[in-house]
Every structure is written in structure tokens, then in C-alpha cells.
Point group: C2
């Protein structure tokens, strides 16, 4: 089994499942406790008006039988599943991943679990993901929308509450986002205030909201301050792309704004290879504040995005929506600048 392959594993129709005996049901528990199945249901759902003794008897029977509620049946009867669907990008970047963990953690607290599926932003892929999750009767949907196109694809969904976790500006009431413009300006203001006047930018994947906003804000900033627009270097979020971009940084540039930390680390590596010292010759600012950035060489100045907060708010909003409450809409999540050693005053 060197390098497992799934090719041979895809049958035309699902193979005849090895039938496994089902576990005990409410009826079994009821029989054992000498009550009706409905009483068992009531105990399970904490209904009032059960004699303590009866409840105890039921609970004992449950324990003895190792009974476990069948959520499929419950979902069928109630229409709710206590599962929230999460649609993520297919590539494991720091932001979505951190947010996912935060969502999982927060959802657990309120009795929900995430059912994950990944999708790229083309509508076919999105459609499949939606079909799958909605078929699963998820109670709500959290969509990590990297690309403007997904908004339209998902907006048609009315079956369940939908929340966008954007890495950009907000979309309607039901969305959570880190303020990208603010974050970008934090970085650029910092560089500007250190005296830098020749800027260059390494972008994230073209077209993604997040990357686009950082890029647009960068260019706007240049214009506002009457600075020269040097060519923007196209990246793809990877350290590798950062490295390649770093090799192309124009001569005379003293301030490099990189759209995320891994690329910044790659870029710094390239700059040093070219004999340019950071921050003596070039100051570099990243974005994200991944945990390793503090120990990069030199320690990376970067914009911190609070993904934990994003996940928490996402669950909070989704939960409100599920319960039909008005969402407690907040402003965008505020990023902040973490100044370390990769930025310094421009050399005179």
C-alpha cells in the first residue's frame, strides 16, 4: 500500500453495507424501565413533571443498556440536527483553519458540532457543498467566503440561516469579518511614519476578497501620499511565492508590505540572499501574526487578526439566528499591529 489510492475505491453504487445490528432504542429502554417510550423521551429532553423515582429508573435502564439517542430519528422528527455546516476553502491556510478551531470550540459550548466540507469558489463546487450540507439538515451554515462569487451562489439559500465569515468587508447583516482596510492601513502608516517612501506589495491569490482589499488599500494609500506605484508582486499566500517575490523586489524599495506572514518569511529569505538586510535595507510587514512570526528572523512585524474572535462571533450570530433572535450585529473585528524587528527607520 505504498501511496494509497482512492481510485479503486469508488464503486458505481455504494457497496452493500456490512449490516451492523442497531443498538437499543427507546422502546427497549422503556420496556426495561417499565414505562412508555414517551416517558423515556421526556426524561431525555428534561421535560418537567416526571416523578424523580421514574426518572431514576429510566436513567438506570439507559445506563444498563448503553442506550444512545438516534439523532437521525430525532432530526427527522424535529427538523433540527444540532449540526452546523461549515464550508471552507480547500487549502489549509492559517486564517480559515484558526477560525475553524474557534468555531468548533464555541459551537461545542452551545451543543452544536460542525460538519465540514471544503469548496473552491466556483459555483459548481459551491453547489455540491451546499447540496450536501442542506441535505444533511444542518441547522445553519457558516460559509468562509474567500471570493466575491460565492456570495451570490449562497445568497439563494433560504432554508437555513447562513452566515458569512468573510475575510473582507461585510455582506448584509449576517457576516463576520476582520477589517482588512484598517489592518492594511495600520501596516502602511507604520512604515510611512518610519520615513519610508518607496513601497512595494506582495499580494495574496488574485481575486480573493482578502487579497484584493489589501491590494486596493495599498494602492489607495500610495496615491493618497503621492508615492510611486511600483509593480505589484503577485503571490499565492505560500512561503514559496513570497520567496520568489522577494527575488523581484525593485531596487531602492525600502518598505515591503506582504499580504501574509508565510510569504513575508519567504520574502525576507530572498532579500537576505540578495544581500539586503532586513530591516536595515528593507523593512517588511506581514499579515496574520502566525505564532512563528515572533521567532522568525528577524521577528516579524505584522498585523494581528483575531480569528478566535471571528469564530466566536460566527457561532454567536448563527446561534441567534437558529433561535430566531435578532442578531447582535457588531462592527468588523479590529486587527492590530504587532511591531517586531523586521521594520525600522529608513536609512538616511
Amino acid at each position: 500500500m505504498r501511496s494509497a489510492t482512492l481510485a479503486a475505491m469508488t464503486p458505481e453504487r455504494p457497496a452493500p453495507l456490512a449490516k451492523q445490528g442497531r443498538g437499543p432504542s427507546m422502546h427497549d429502554v422503556a420496556a426495561r424501565a417499565g414505562v412508555s417510550h414517551q416517558t423515556v423521551s421526556r426524561v431525555l429532553n428534561d421535560f418537567p413533571g416526571i416523578r424523580p423515582e421514574t426518572r431514576e429508573r429510566v436513567l438506570t435502564a439507559i445506563r444498563e443498556l448503553g442506550y444512545r439517542r438516534n439523532m437521525a430519528a430525532r432530526a427527522l422528527a424535529t427538523g433540527r440536527s444540532e449540526v452546523i455546516g461549515v464550508i471552507m476553502p480547500e487549502v489549509p491556510h492559517f486564517g480559515p483553519t484558526s477560525t475553524l478551531y474557534a468555531i468548533e470550540h464555541a459551537a461545542k459550548q452551545v451543543g452544536f458540532k460542525p460538519l465540514i466540507t471544503t469548496a473552491s469558489w466556483d459555483s459548481e463546487s459551491m453547489g455540491e457543498a451546499l447540496d450536501f450540507l442542506l441535505g444533511r439538515a444542518v441547522d445553519a451554515l457558516v460559509v468562509m467566503a474567500q471570493h466575491p462569487d460565492v456570495l451570490a451562489a449562497v445568497d439563494a439559500i433560504t432554508d437555513v440561516p447562513v452566515l458569512f465569515v468573510l475575510t473582507g468587508n461585510s455582506h448584509g447583516a449576517r457576516s463576520v469579518a476582520v477589517d482588512q482596510v484598517k489592518g492594511t492601513r495600520l501596516a502602511l502608516d507604520h512604515l510611512y511614519s518610519l520615513g519610508h517612501r518607496r513601497f512595494q506589495h506582495v499580494t495574496g491569490i488574485a481575486g480573493l476578497t482578502e487579497a484584493q482589499l489589501r491590494r486596493d488599500t495599498f494602492l489607495a494609500f500610495l496615491d493618497e501620499h503621492g508615492l510611486e506605484r511600483l509593480p505589484v508582486l503577485e503571490g499565492d499566500w505560500s512561503a514559496d511565492a513570497g520567496y520568489r517575490a522577494g527575488l523581484q523586489v525593485a531596487d531602492g524599495v525600502t518598505a515591503l508590505f506582504v499580504a501574509n506572514d508565510p510569504m513575508a518569511i519567504g520574502a525576507i529569505h530572498a532579500l537576505e540572499e540578495r544581500g539586503l538586510s532586513v530591516p536595515r535595507d528593507v523593512s517588511v510587514v506581514g499579515f496574520d501574526d502566525v505564532p512563528e512570526s515572533a521567532y522568525a528572523h528577524p521577528g516579524l512585524t505584522t498585523v494581528h487578526q483575531d480569528f478566535t474572535e471571528v469564530g466566536l462571533r460566527a457561532v454567536s450570530l448563527v446561534f441567534a439566528a437558529i433561535n430566531g433572535k435578532e442578531p447582535d450585529v457588531g462592527e468588523a473585528v479590529e486587527p492590530w499591529l504587532v511591531v517586531r524587528d523586521s521594520t525600522g527607520p529608513v536609512r538616511s
Copy 2:
């Protein structure tokens, strides 16, 4: 909503759900197509023996109504859910996260999706996770077992196939693991062959299988070669811990084996702060080969773990088990050494 809180969100009993009308069912489709609901079911499940014209009529009705299969009902009737439960560590480390993405990707290919829940390794937390997932009628369980204790907790489960994704040695037939001993020896042999004789080790979280194996193998290696056992430095996988450990590396040590890359990066930072150059004074080897390691300063020599392969094999084995086939058990996944610039010959 500064810093969202979930405290106020946990009602005693689930709030009365805002009732949302259910979508169309098979009956609706059947009525529209002028057939019986069973025929609809047959079309949906690709049964043979449907007149093409009938099938077409059904498909049209489905499209027109925007019908979507109710998987809860299907799961109830069939006993299978096409969902595999995944139990992960609560902390977002590189290994489990990468494996998760690989699992999601591979599972999707064979029509499954992962239902994720996190758990620490105490049996209470594990028990909750298991209850949740088994109650969901997951078709199989993938458990990322960081700690020996979880094996026992999960071994009792017989309802569904269980697969362990270990970050250590294997456990019974149904497990996938990267060969930790091999990986560790790769790193140590490399250092030894460069002439190093004074070694020190920074560990992962004490007790975790992975950390324990690397540590044990390290100590065994020392003994085999008659090398001095300097104190082992306790880490917790974080770059931060690596940094702190780096500050405590003993004088005269020329070879530092660090249990993962982030800690290695932190340790290097500390060493440089102490005026020790890597690799001139100290050679450092990490573990994992996170994408940024190539661009660390200096480029980090490390042991590559192929988590994609782990995820793929996990799904492959799980899928086989679900279908009652004998698993195609393979050996442990082989790690390999990636030599970069953080290691060099010992100075004479």
C-alpha cells in the same frame, strides 16, 4: 459586541426553534412526475429497470421543485449516514490539521464527509465526543490519538469501525501512523554523521505518544552510541516553548534535536540571541517540515511527515471497513529527512 461571549447563549433547554417550513419531499416530486414515491427513490439511487422516459420525468420534477434528499430520513431507514466522525486534538497543530484536510479531501472522493469534534485525552472528554458522534450514526470513526489513554477509551466501541490515526506506533490492525522511531533516527544519524557528539533534545508535550517516542528514541540513541545524557528540555510544541528551551541549551552542545519545527524555530531564535550561530556553533534539526521551514533562517533541516498520505490511508482503511472488506494493512508511513542549512559539520 466587543469580544463576543457565549455564556449568555446557553439556555437550559433549547429555545423553541423558529420553525421553518420543510422543503418538498419525495411525495411531492412523485405527485408532480405522476409516479409513486418509490420510483423517485429508485431514480435517486440509480436502480436499474426504470424506463428512460420515466426517469427523465422524475429528474425534471426534482429540478423544478428544487427537491433535496433528506439524509436524516435516509439515515434512519438505512442505518448509514455517509458521514465519518473525526475526533481531533483541541489544539490546532500542524500534523492533525494537515491530516484533517487530507481526510476531508479523500473522504469527499468516496462520498463521505467528516463530522468533526475535538477532545482532549481524558476519558470524560473522549466519552462526550464518542457519544456525540455515535449518536449521529456516523459510519465510522477516525480518532487522532495523541495519548495512549484514548486507545483504551475508544477500544470499547464496537458499533462502528474505528480507525486510529496515531502519531506513534501502530495499534492493532486498524491504525495509520508515521514511523516516529525511524524519523527520529534519521535526524540523529544525520547529526552523528556530521561529527556531533554532544546532543540535547527539546520535547513535545509530555505524555503524548508522539513526543514520548521521539524522546525515548533520542535517549536510546544516546545510549547506543555511548553519548552523555544531558537534561532533556521540556517543550509543548509551541514556538514560544522552543524559545525558552533554546535559552537553556547547555554549553558545549553542538546538536539540538527539537521535537517539532515551530519549537525549532523558537530555539534557533534563542540561540542566536545568546550569540550562538546556527549551524556554526549548534546544528538544529526539527520535525514535521512545515512549509515555512524551508524559508526559516537558516533553512531548517527537518524530518518530513507525509500527513497527506496519512489522511489518504485513513480514509482508505475506513472505507474498506465500512464495506466490510478486509483492510489492506500497510506498514507505517515513512518519514524522510530534509537537509537544509540549520545543520552542518561539527567545528573541530
